[in-house]
């Protein structure tokens, strides 16, 4: 069933043009847990040779939504808060997200964004947010 979930998650990610464009991969997906990664490209940079904070925020948003969405089938990010800890300088970004607590329609999730590079692995950002079950389609 977890394999089915991973396949479902990858289908959702693949259906997102922005995620496909950035090359984001869903590495792990199980109930309450999600891991995504992307290979850093020169296109992702800001003006001081580190990855743009917007990319870290995109990854955090995505991972929180997948972690919460694993409980609901699909997901909408209601809100999130992100702290930028260190500049992201490296080859690959990884984000690991977990559900902290959930109710019938909402889940609170946290994630950490790591950058793997020559200097090893650096925790670049930490986020927390609210994921909601999308409204039923009629």
């Amino acid at each position: 069933m977890t394999d089915d979930l991973l396949a479902l998650g990858r289908n959702i990610l693949r259906a997102q043009p922005f995620s496909t464009h950035l090359g984001t991969i869903l590495d792990a997906f199980s109930p309450g847990h999600a891991e995504l990664s992307l290979v850093v490209s020169p296109l992702h940079m800001q003006h001081q040779s580190s990855v743009h904070g917007g990319i870290l925020a995109y990854l955090a948003d995505s991972a929180l939504a997948f972690a919460g969405g694993s409980l609901f089938g699909d997901a909408v990010t209601v809100e999130m808060k992100i702290n930028f800890l260190k500049p992201a300088r490296g080859d690959r970004l990884r984000v690991v997200a977990d559900v902290v607590g959930s109710g019938e329609a909402q889940a609170v999730c946290r994630c950490d964004v790591f950058c793997d590079g020559e200097a090893g692995t650096v925790l670049c950002a930490a986020a927390q947010g609210t994921i909601r079950r999308p409204p039923a389609k009629r």
Copy 2:
């Protein structure tokens, strides 16, 4: 002097490959205030035909950093919080940011992200964050 600030801001934005890649424009830039926009492209979408929340978060992060950075010469986003209010479906995204309060080294800023489309202008996201003066280079 405000024109100089706008020119400076546009140079900083142009030096960010990710912003150039997304086609972000700095529309207004004065002490404590910044406005940016971008034309929505099919590449920016998520899987439900609205703009990916990561793009809204990128715009919010950028606008907060410009608003705060206008006081400091340059800027680092320490953290931000974003609420997603409505799906962004339209042709153009605009973000308007203002400094709420500032000290010697940090500024607290707020911004609103709007989407202009056939349905008129919709407030899609609202954010608040902390911008810090970058450490002096040695």
Copy 3:
């Protein structure tokens, strides 16, 4: 009708032992807007002679909930984010909250917390949060 709303709001506030204990007053209450205040007492302090951040967070939480709750009849604070801008040193704290955007069941609100003292009025904290309509009672 606004007077009725103010009376309703004051009843809710009066029914909160913690708010009564702190001496919180609902000064203004209209659809999408709320203002509260309290007189600073020595009991509210932290160890550096300014008001404890927890009191500012309490006021922000309350004001956001009243602003959002004005649309829903009652309210639950889902989450909030608060930036502490300046130490609160003065006689009176005031918080002014407004709805930024709302849907059927949730509202995003912002508020500013001011301290009135000898030095004039100081913006001490700025907050943003999500208010939800409470679940229907059965």
Copy 4:
């Protein structure tokens, strides 16, 4: 040395009239980690018979500040974000905070607020925030 830290922490807490008033206890304090608790009293309630969110926010603010302050000697909370997960109905509130990452002058911390009651232990709130080393006294 950890005992010294705990004694130092308790002195700081005792010097806060608001914390003394609420009866807050520092249960554990080591580098990068802090635990506080308080016994719930009827004075802490809101109008729906659960503990006022302002008390949970106070506890979160305090625990984040102690966790970060353990690295700096003392601490100022720059900002925090709190999600309210479940109503706090019980006898005792406990908060557990840890540093997620830190630099020379700032630390990012997370905490969880639990309520112990007849129904067992419930996670009531989760927070994340930024703690700063206070400016040097002159």
